[in-house]
Symmetry: C2
Subunit: 147 residues, 2 copies
DNA sequence: CTAACTGCAAAGTGTTTGCACTCTT
DNA sequence: AAGAGTGCAAACACTTTGCAGTTAG
């Protein structure tokens, strides 16, 4: 069962697991709690370090397994669909991306297809902006046909 | 020497290499040519397959080495700054990202800090859009101080 | 001629998997 | 009890590196 991908608090994990048909193990609970506490888009290894302080016997594989489970059930998201393999950009024109989250295909969308991106607030001072990149995420035609 | 990151045509590679202080080898030329011909945000392995048809003795390591060189000199770009390691998203609120391309740090920017993203053209039919994600790319305060 | 580049194999990362054991339900 | 989850080690996929031989400038 797939929950809506909105993100959840650790307090609700019992209920979330029930809905998703997942067992609520101690490890799973602590992994989720720590994950939710970490501000900075953590990598699996960093989650592992945190959780190990509470459950020293925990295995890194369990962290990976649980992260995968969480993502599959929509409890958390990955920042980028394209970790795992380097993908190269050879389109010299300013453009954005149409990304299928299922097959990972990336199509270019010309920058001129968009109204200019405007911010209401200013960027944190000291950060020098090079460019804006918009990703339009969803499921492509081909993939939605496939079931 | 660092060229502007605008993308270049294969025809100019001789000049680009000269400016960057790079040797223009046959392998390098063919890798660049093929790369520029490939439409679909290729992975290194795919570039390798293409180039091998023209230079069967080519090694995959050479493809990787050259891609790295091209990226470092701004001749091509990587699609995502965060290939290499999974990064997790635990912020349940709709938001965008401020990404430092040097240290790879990701900060959240609330969706409400932006004017709504609007498109002039419509998305290719059949693609069902789930969400828009904006990445504001640049160099953070800390990194710009560091040299 | 010299510095840069290539090919190969070996070493490194980050991630997944098979299996026996344990825990949740 | 039965099925799901854990820990471990081994396997994998992707990428980098060291080194000897080759090539560009």
């Amino acid at each position: 069962m797939k929950a809506a991908s909105q993100g959840y608090s650790a307090a609700n994990l019992r209920e979330l697991c029930r809905l998703a048909g997942l067992s609520l193990t101690h490890q799973r609970l602590v992994i989720f709690e720590e994950l939710m506490k970490m501000g900075d888009h953590p990598a699996p290894e960093e989650v592992y370090e945190k959780v190990r302080k509470k459950i020293p016997s925990l295995s890194l594989a369990t962290v990976y397994n649980n992260i995968k489970t969480f993502v599959e059930h929509g409890l958390i998201r990955e920042v980028s669909v394209h970790h795992g393999s380097l993908r190269l950009e050879n389109n010299p024109h300013p453009h954005h991306h149409l990304v299928c989250t299922r097959c990972k295909r990336i199509e270019d969308l010309d920058e001129s297809d968009f109204e200019p991106i405007r911010m209401k607030k200013s960027i944190p001072s000291g950060f020098s902006v090079h460019r804006f990149s918009v990703e339009v995420l969803g499921i492509c035609k081909r993939c939605s046909k496939q079931n």
